[in-house]
């Protein structure tokens, strides 16, 4: 901002996200307590939630106390060796602060179970594990706070992380249960409630690594499959609700199970599904049926939306304009079943018409390198005729809109139609 000042360039206004007074305000004012350069670091806009009251920044420390800083020794209760180190200490009125070293409280460790030999012999023997190995494992667990990756690395014999975890947790669990006076006491302990499941863990990690190592292409393919499955599931759901208990339970696999088996999810084996080629109509009808009661106007609205979902907003506007030109109400005044059906069909036909018009335009454009001659000569060529702006000028090439009667079709147009054909044959 200062650079702009120097160069004499005008300051640009900030986007008007805030109230109107904002851009006006920030260039003239800044909160007191911070220097202008510091304030400018924030973009010249005060923070949403001031973390520090700016009036505090200029506050002086309480002056009625006498503060000195002294280089004093201290001990750390977290250490076991009584090492004495020195550091600066803030002394107030000659009284040094009391209390333990402030970081000692962070010295936490895991309570690793300690078993006696008898306990081992009684509860913890295992064919896969020797006593020595188990002892080593527990020692490492104690030293490294159950960081199993490190423990696995340092373990003398090669054991997988899952095996180590399994051994540790089952031993702890057994000890816990053995030591408890009754089973009820420990039933809520997480170790007892949810024992470690080795096979599940192995499987989970494998799946995870698969996901991680997927190439981009595989990722895209998986996405597509999932989207497809979701779409099918959604189509299936209203049909399923309507069919009630008719569906076989296997079709309940509309849920996406594991990514490990993507093939399953994309199986549209359900023949009861309404045809996917017309998802609009069928699924709208299905979703209407779920409502159990609805108004005809609402239903028409949904169906109209479904049909125009494939068209852009401009096309929809053109359809509506054409409807008005033809004297048709955008929303029928007497929406009976027949009227609504006709209205819907009319809209669909208009969509077809517009698409055809576009088609003709493209084809004309394609053909223009070949038809240079005929284009410029015939005044009422199809080009004029089909490049109809928003309204439907049926027979009218150069006829003014005022004269244009709505119901007047084009006999003139059919003759214009014939003319270029003749020209073409001349080549």
């Amino acid at each position: 901002m200062d650079a702009k000042d120097i160069l004499g360039l005008p300051k640009n206004s900030f986007p008007a996200l805030e109230k109107k007074s904002r851009p006006h305000k920030e260039s003239h004012r800044k909160p007191d307590g911070i220097s202008r350069e510091v304030y400018a670091l924030t973009g010249g806009v005060p923070p949403l939630m001031p973390s520090l009251d700016s009036s505090q920044l200029k506050k002086k420390p309480p002056s009625h106390e006498k503060i000195t800083w002294q280089w004093l020794p201290f001990t750390n209760s977290a250490r076991k060796d009584n090492l004495q180190l020195y550091h600066w200490v803030r002394v107030v009125n000659g009284v040094p602060p009391t209390g333990d070293y402030s970081f000692a409280k962070y010295n936490k460790s895991v309570d690793v179970v300690k078993y006696t030999d008898e306990e081992y012999d009684k509860y913890l023997t295992d064919p896969m594990w020797t006593k020595e190995e188990t002892n080593q494992l527990f020692d490492l667990c104690q030293r490294f706070d159950l960081r199993f990756i490190i423990i696995a690395d340092r373990f003398p014999s090669s054991r997988t992380v899952e095996e180590l975890k399994d051994r540790y947790y089952s031993v702890s669990r057994a000890i816990l249960i053995a030591r408890a006076s009754s089973t009820g006491d420990v039933a809520t302990h997480p170790l007892v409630k949810e024992p470690y499941n080795v096979s599940q863990e192995i499987e989970r990690k494998r799946a995870l690594s698969m996901v991680l190592s997927q190439t981009r292409q595989q990722e895209r393919r998986d996405e597509e499959v999932l989207v497809e499955a979701k779409r099918i599931a959604e189509l299936r759901m209203p049909a399923k609700a309507v069919e009630e208990s008719q569906l076989a339970p296997s079709n309940a696999g509309a849920e996406v199970t594991g990514r490990a088996v993507p093939g399953e999810t994309a199986s549209p084996s359900n023949a009861q599904l309404p045809s996917i080629t017309f998802p609009d109509n069928a699924s709208t009808l299905a979703s209407l049926r779920i409502l159990r009661v609805y108004l005809r106007t609402y239903a028409l609205d949904q169906m109209v939306q479904a049909t125009s979902s494939s068209a852009g907003p401009r096309t929809v506007k053109r359809i509506e304009q054409t409807l008005l030109d033809l004297g048709v109400n955008l929303k029928p005044r007497v929406p009976t079943k027949a009227v609504c059906a006709e209205h819907l069909e009319l809209r669909k036909e208009m969509l077809t018409l517009l698409n055809l018009q576009k088609q003709v335009q493209y084809k004309e454009a394609e053909g223009s390198p070949f038809r240079d001659g005929s284009y410029n000569e015939a005044p009422g060529t199809p080009k004029d005729w089909t490049f109809i702006p928003d309204t439907m000028n049926f027979g009218g090439e150069r006829v003014s809109k005022k004269d244009q009667k709505r119901k007047g079709h084009g006999h003139p147009s059919s003759s214009a139609h014939k003319r270029p054909r003749k020209k073409a044959s001349e080549f």
């Binding site: 009661v293 005809r296 003709v360 073409a424």
Partner: protein, 274 residues
């Protein structure tokens, strides 16, 4: 009576519900009640029941008697499109008024489903229709913006000629239960399509005591002179004409496209010969 409205499919001209159920009939049904109960829940596929309704309001300016807070007297209502009794379908109607009214939630337990009030302001009224248990257990909402002042600002307000806004719509039950179907099969307020062949319905069970009910239709309603007669004929004509035009234009374009394709083919051929 002007009855040229949209309900075209109703059978005989029976103004009331299908007759009273004699006691003997009732006890007979009592024996096979279980199977009947199961059947009552059964729904027929592809049979859609629709009830044409008209809802809206009529508002009278109070003229000399108007005060600042009560300048108009208005009635909001839901009626059958042909003024038939909606009581066979609708159990009660709840009109939710603006919060400035006393007890803004007004419940009307029997037809005609209408509510009259006095006020000065226009606001949205939510009309919730609750149906009988065999019809539908979910209520339906209608939204109507109360209109008191005439559209044309310059036209003077008269105490004799009210402002009327009526909207036509149809309540559709896509999956009616057999009980509902049999009950209203010949009811004039309801459009019941032809049943698929070979389908027989259980005997109808009335949902309310027929003798208790008073007349619920709006044929002789005091305001009936202001009711609009909605006819689908005009709209159908308009739509048919529009469709014809569009179809003709489509045909023309299709011809044109095939013509152009033919020409392109020709040119390609000729240019390759050169």
């Amino acid at each position: 009576m002007t009855n040229s409205s949209s309900s075209k499919k109703h059978g005989q001209d029976q103004p009331e519900l299908s007759g009273p159920t004699p006691k003997s009939h009732r006890t007979k049904m009592g024996k096979s009640e279980d199977t009947d109960k199961k059947n009552l829940g059964k729904k027929l596929k592809d049979v859609e029941i629709s009830v044409p309704i008209v809802y809206g309001n009529i508002a009278f300016w109070l003229g000399k008697k108007a005060s600042e807070y009560q300048s108009h007297k208005w009635t909001v209502y839901v009626r059958g499109a042909s003024n038939e009794d909606l009581g066979a379908i609708v159990k009660r109607a709840v009109f939710q008024l603006h919060s400035s009214f006393n007890n803004p939630t007004r419940v009307v337990e029997s037809p005609p489903f209408e509510l009259s009030e006095a006020g000065w302001g226009e606001f949205e009224i939510v009309i919730t229709l609750h149906f009988h248990s065999d019809v539908c257990d979910k209520p339906l909402n209608l939204y109507h913006h109360l209109k008191l002042y005439p559209e044309d600002e310059n036209s003077s307000m008269s105490t004799k000629k009210p402002v009327v806004v009526e909207l036509y719509d149809e309540i559709v039950f896509p999956d009616p239960s057999e009980a509902f179907l049999s009950r209203v099969q010949n009811h004039p307020a309801v459009n019941v399509p032809r049943l698929p062949p070979g389908v027989t319905l259980p005997p109808p069970i009335p949902v309310e005591d027929a003798s208790k009910r008073r007349k619920g239709d709006t044929k002789d309603h005091p305001l009936s002179q202001w009711f609009t007669n909605f006819s689908e004929a005009d709209e159908l004509l308009q739509l048919a004409a529009a469709r014809q035009q569009v179809q003709a234009h489509i045909a023309k374009l299709r011809r044109q496209i095939s013509l152009i394709d033919g020409q392109h083919h020709q040119y390609f051929k000729s240019s390759s010969d050169q």
